[in-house]
């Protein structure tokens, strides 16, 4: 979430080592064997886009359900020359984002940043950054439940068979029922997709607004679920299609309002209640995106007033 | 002990006859047909119902079976239809396209007999087996529908035949369970005759009918004969017998045992 910030960082402070790497830990906390195991899993995941690869998820210094999957993936791929950005629902400033960023700073000494364009690795919980990524970047998703059929088919063994046989009638049934009950497909986040025309995949609980960004993304997208012990991936430029019916096509959310801070009409907006009388404000969810737009607006305003002066 | 219709007893009959090739008008050949019922529930008592009946039937013939009650007339008809398994002898019916142009009913696979019943052999039983909830019209149309005739056309032809048999129009959409014996019998006859089978087996088709309707049935049989059907029938009333028969075959009760009941 994007808190209207009182912490406007200057350009100099944007890229920094928040602390020095602490001694007594292996680089990125995990031992080399574990990183090797994770990398093998990641290679397999990249080789079969959308396929959930089981891996030996480790105990991390934070509980399951707090991003251990994403952290393990990042730990496996991060190198001394990387620059890391961590966001949680689009914000760099939530407790989670701050803690995870600090964790990596401490265990690797690697540079961290809030600027999407300057990061080589972006770890995210539940959002994709608004600014398009490049083929020099990796996006690491934190995934709570990697199995898109989880609620429909509780039997794990049966689920595995369904994926193996591409027997996906069940998810269509769910979408059908949605239309029956709500008039349209009711899923708004964690909207199931088909990756590379083959595997049914959960894109993690990103809003469906972000689903189009999965498709043919220039960046490598890696997904880690620590508690469920699964890793999966979407290699760069992979076709990713959100499920729908021919006569009920996939649609993203739209707002009547624009961002109260930067005026954006293209980004995902959070709705905030700002006082007891229920006054609402809509603000960009992606804090860096909003920040950059505001900087641009300020810069142009300064130029103009400079010219006018 | 397993009993199937394609059992070993048929192997003797596999030799096949050339009669159907040599005689293009031959439709049915029964040779030395024997039937014994073994009642296991009564200590395995055997009841001989047929002691060796032979019959050749050609196109256009109507053979009437005569004989005292219990002589096996109904039994013989049922053996010809495959409803009873003959204990001995052979029964062959013309089957165009088959090896030697016939099918031996005795020992045939159920699949083949079903095909023959659909396309070649029709049977009018003594009693209408009533299927609940199916209208008289649909019962009569069914043999045509199972041959692939369009439902509408089948129903039309059924209507024509029912009308001819004087079945009142108001009864057509009703299930025959509540019909009188005579009405049921006429529905039965319509169902048996509508597909214009080339071999017809008629078991007392006029038993519950009045004179007028007996006459209608007799005409229908006559028309079938003219079409070239080969008919074997049992008729209790003399008049119809005289009207339709081209030949008469007399059956006598087997000498070896007095049957307990007419095994029909």
């Amino acid at each position: 979430m994007n808190a209207p910030d009182t912490l406007r960082t200057t350009a100099a402070e944007v890229a920094s080592h928040e602390t020095q790497a602490v001694s007594g830990y292996n680089f990125a906390y995990l031992d080399e064997q574990t990183k090797r195991m994770l990398r093998r899993a990641l290679l397999k995941a990249v080789a079969v886009p959308g396929y959930q690869v089981p891996f030996a998820s480790r105990e991390m210094p934070l509980p399951y359900g707090w991003g251990t999957g994403g952290i393990q993936v990042t730990a496996a791929i991060i190198g001394a020359k990387d620059t890391l950005k961590v966001i949680d629902q689009g914000s760099d400033d939530t407790t989670n984002a701050v803690n995870i960023r600090r964790f990596f700073a401490r265990t690797t000494g690697v540079a961290t940043t809030r600027r999407t364009s300057e990061a080589s690795i972006v770890q995210t919980r539940h959002r994709i950054p608004e600014s398009p990524l490049t083929d020099k970047q990796i996006l690491v998703y934190q995934v709570p439940m990697p199995e898109p059929l989880f609620r429909l088919e509780p039997r794990v063994a049966e689920c595995k068979k369904l994926h193996a046989l591409a027997d996906y009638g069940l998810i269509s049934v769910k979408l059908y029922e949605d239309i029956v009950q709500h008039g349209s497909i009711a899923t708004t986040y964690d909207y199931p997709v088909t990756v590379n025309g083959r595997y049914l995949t959960s894109p993690s609980p990103i809003p469906k607004f972000d689903n189009p960004k999965l498709h043919m993304n220039a960046a490598l997208q890696l997904f880690g679920a620590g508690r469920e012990r699964r890793i999966y991936a979407m290699p760069p430029y992979t076709p990713v299609k959100s499920l729908d019916f021919d006569d009920h096509p996939f649609e993203v959310e739209r707002w009547d309002e624009c961002c109260a801070l930067c005026g954006s009409r293209e980004s995902f907006l959070d709705e905030m209640i700002v006082d007891d009388s229920g006054k609402r404000m809509f603000v960009c969810s992606d804090s860096d995106y909003c920040h950059e737009r505001r900087e641009d607006i300020d810069a142009r305003a300064t130029n103009e007033s400079g010219e006018n002066a | 002990m397993t009993f199937t219709s394609s059992s070993a007893l048929a192997q003797g009959a596999q030799r096949g006859t050339h009669a159907f090739i040599e005689r293009p008008a031959l439709m049915l050949r029964a040779e030395d047909v024997r039937k014994t019922f073994t009642l296991h529930g009564q200590g395995g008592i055997g009841i001989e119902a047929l002691a060796g009946v032979s019959l050749d039937v050609e196109r256009g013939e109507c053979i009437v079976l005569v004989g005292p009650s219990g002589a096996g007339k109904s039994t013989f008809l049922r053996c010809l239809y495959g409803n009873y398994l003959a204990s001995g002898g052979s029964i062959a019916i013309r089957d165009e396209g088959a090896p030697l142009e016939h099918l031996e009913i005795t020992g045939a696979a159920p699949h083949d007999i079903l095909r023959l019943r659909r396309n070649v052999v029709g049977y009018v039983s003594q009693f209408l087996r009533v299927i609940p909830r199916v209208s008289a019209l649909d019962i009569v149309a069914a043999p045509l529908v199972s041959r692939g005739v369009e439902e509408d056309e089948a129903r039309e032809r059924a209507q024509t035949l029912l009308a001819r048999l004087n079945v009142p129009r108001r009864l057509w959409p009703l299930a025959p369970a509540t019909f009188s014996g005579g009405e049921q019998q006429r529905v039965n006859i319509a169902r048996g005759l509508i597909a214009q089978h080339r071999v017809l087996l008629l078991d007392e088709p006029t038993a519950s009918l009045d004179a007028e309707n007996r006459e209608v049935v007799a005409s229908l049989i006559g028309e079938a004969r003219e079409r070239g059907a080969a008919i074997v029938g049992v008729f209790h009333d003399e008049d119809t017998r005289v009207r339709v028969a081209t030949r008469v075959l007399e059956l006598t009760a087997p000498r070896t045992q007095t049957p307990l009941t007419a095994a029909a």
Binding site: K161, A164, L165, D167, Y168, G169, L170, S172, V173, Y176, E177, I179, V180, F245, D246, D247, H248 | M1, T2, F3, T4, S5, F37, T38, L39, H40, G41, R78, G82, N83, Y84, L85, A109, P110, H111, I113, L114, I131, P132, R133, V134, A142, V145, S146
Partner: protein, 256 residues
Amino acid sequence: MTPLLSARALTKQYGGRNGCRDVSFDLYPGEVLCIVGESGSGKTTLLNTLALRTEADSGALHYTGANGETLDLRTLSEPRRRLLARTEWGFVQQNPRDGLRAGVSAGANIGEPLMAVGARHYGQIRHTAQQWMQRVELDAMRIDELPSAFSGGMQQRLQIARNLVTGPRLVFMDEPTAGLDVSVQARLLDLLRTLTTTLHLSVLIVTHDIGVARLLAHRLMVMQGGTVVESGLTDQVLDDPQHPYTQTLVASVLPV
């Protein structure tokens, strides 16, 4: 003509006894075959073995598909088996609740097999489901209700619609009328009779009720103690039973 389904010496036993033993038959397109027997006769084991829900111990089992290819069912891979079950076969369970998804609407239940083979148009799926509801004499307006809102007989009809919607060639039925009231049974049997003839289905029905066999089946197999003791045309087996057990069975039917 090649048989649709062909079994030779098929055996499935539990600990060397029970189950079914040495069963052989051929089933042709458009034929309805009834397997009749009392409890413990092995008829349900046989059905499940034929439908590949249980693995046979020995024997041969072949199926000739819509494309004319004959498959050895005993060596069929699981993916192909599941594809076959989805496209060319149906299985109607004794208890309709075992054959339906309780948590989704009637329309979804009927539409699922279509969606499983790639149907992608919501409106068309719905329309097809409504047509099938009418065919099985269910009120098409109730398409959005859950199966639990229907009576037992209606649920069974719903299950039948779900099984027939993909146009299968072979349908297995396990005691489809058991547990239903007599009048409901009659209606269901009537429906089955009509559907099997108009759709030219091959059907294998297991039942303990001879009346069902008489009404629906062209052919009959009588099982006792795990083996087939008699088989043949339905009218022949019931009117002229040869085997002692068959004679007892026929004699035991209560007259109406």
